[in-house]
């Protein structure tokens, strides 16, 4: 504190602020803009009237001091220092009307940024000073609470009920196979019928001619099948001859020896 760098004397500061300004610890600042704002405040004038040149001097002196003390200086503080050094030289040199943006404009922008940050810093302080819930004002510790209770309402129709019962019945009924008596002509019947007619017919006759004319539908199909088997049986016994001109052609038969 005794070896205060000359730059800090540029603006008169209250003892407490001088102490703040001398805390050579970057942890205290939220970045270079924050440091600049703190330094600007030490000028003790409205931010709209601060001397940017003086502010630049303060900042550069501060960084120089830190480096002299071999303290680590974060890169963004050094970038700001380099930019401010450039701004300082531009502000000090004779004005070049061609230069765009002009140093004055750059200085104005810096000033505007500092004003905005200062406004938000102050706003934050005022916000935190308000009557806050849990610190200054209190809510009920254990409110009853408003509850929405969902009541399940089950829905089913009489049809659902009956259909379900039908399925249960169907699933568990003892399985009974009911075989209906179907009209058939047995082999015995066909054999008997064919034996009776074979003696009557003398010449070759088609198998279908031996079928009863009044048989139709399933009964006729059954009669065809059993008569065919009967014809084969009679041929095996040597009692009839069979002939057929080709596959699927009509089957003819006649009695042996006629």
């Amino acid at each position: 504190m005794e070896d205060l760098p000359p730059a800090f004397d540029l603006a008169p500061a209250a003892p407490s602020e001088r102490e703040d300004a001398l805390q050579l610890n970057l942890e205290s600042w939220e970045g270079p803009l924050d440091l600049l704002l703190t330094l600007a405040r030490s000028q003790k004038v409205d931010l709209r009237q601060i001397s940017i040149l003086a502010l630049v001097e303060q900042y550069l002196a501060f960084i120089t001091e830190m480096r002299a003390l071999k303290l680590e200086v974060a890169a963004d503080y050094l970038v700001m220092a380099a930019w401010l050094a450039y701004l300082k030289s531009a502000l000090l040199l004779p004005k070049d009307p061609e230069e765009d943006p002009s140093p004055d404009e750059l200085a104005l922008r810096l000033q505007l940024r500092l004003q905005r940050l200062a406004a938000m810093r102050e706003a934050a302080a005022r916000l935190l000073a308000r009557d806050r819930v849990g610190r200054d004002v209190f809510l009920r510790a254990k409110p009853e609470g408003l509850r929405d209770v969902r009541v399940r309402r089950w829905d089913a129709s009489l049809y659902d009920l009956l259909a379900a019962y039908g399925q249960v019945k169907l699933r568990t009924e003892p399985v009974v196979h009911m075989v209906a008596r179907r009209p058939v002509v047995t082999l015995d019947a066909a054999l008997h019928h064919l034996e009776r007619l074979i003696g009557v017919t003398l010449d070759w006759a088609e198998l279908s001619a031996f079928l009863p004319a009044d048989y139709d539908g399933p009964l006729r199909r059954s009669a065809v099948a059993s008569s065919f088997l009967a014809a084969l049986e009679l041929a095996r016994q040597g009692r009839v001859d069979l002939k057929q001109d080709g596959a699927f052609e009509p089957l003819y038969l006649k009695a042996v020896g006629t």
Binding site: L146, R147, R152, R153, A156, D160, L162, A164
Partner: protein
């Protein structure tokens, strides 16, 4: 309303913000013990009287005071909402069995359904208030037996259980057809409709 003095305001706020009911002695201690519990109690009673008949009550339980909402307004704090759910197939089967065979035990229901019945299924039907326990069967193990309720008759539009169609009625209605056959029949009718349209 007459102005409320600072002491009364302070005690009221304390009782409001406290996470437990407070007695007069505790309140007096928090106020710095400058008042007797008796004097504090008188103020608490005044606060309770001020709130009487409003939507907020200060009540005493065993010497401790706390704010609460009046019991007659409880229905406003707990709102019931319908949550309609379709009865599951299994639950419909169990319900039908109870209706056709009541009273029945769970074991009997399982015997009729041919599959195990979860406890949850019976619970759902009891929650719907369509079935209710109807005593115990006097057999070993004394199982609970169930029957349908008046709410069941009401929901399904039945005057009595005798209104339930008999087995032959179900058969005639096609409800005893295997599902796939019934499906084909239904599809056949659809085909007929289509044919008719084409013609």
């Amino acid at each position: 309303m007459s102005a409320i003095d600072d002491l009364e305001r302070a005690i009221e706020a304390m009782l409001f913000a406290s996470d437990e009911a407070l007695d007069a002695r505790q309140v007096a201690a928090r106020l710095g013990d400058e008042m007797t519990p008796g004097a504090v109690r008188a103020i608490i009673v005044a606060i309770a009287e001020r709130h009487a008949g409003s939507g907020v009550e200060l009540v005493e339980r065993g010497g401790h005071w706390h704010f609460q909402t009046p019991a007659d307004l409880a229905h406003l704090l707990r709102r019931e909402r319908d949550d309609p759910r379709k009865l599951s197939r299994a639950a419909a089967e169990v319900l039908a069995i109870v209706a056709y065979h009541e009273p029945v035990s769970r074991a009997e229901i399982e015997a009729i359904r041919g599959v195990q019945t979860s406890k949850g299924t019976l619970d759902v039907l009891m929650e719907a208030e369509w079935i209710a326990p109807a005593g115990r069967r006097e057999v070993p193990g004394r199982p609970l037996i169930y029957k349908t309720t008046d709410a069941f008759l009401q929901h399904f539009g039945l005057t009595s259980r005798k209104d339930l169609p008999g087995i032959e009625d179900l058969r005639a209605a096609g409800l005893l057809d295997p599902v796939d056959l019934a499906f084909e029949t239904a599809m056949g009718e659809l085909d007929l409709v289509k044919d008719g349209e084409d013609a």
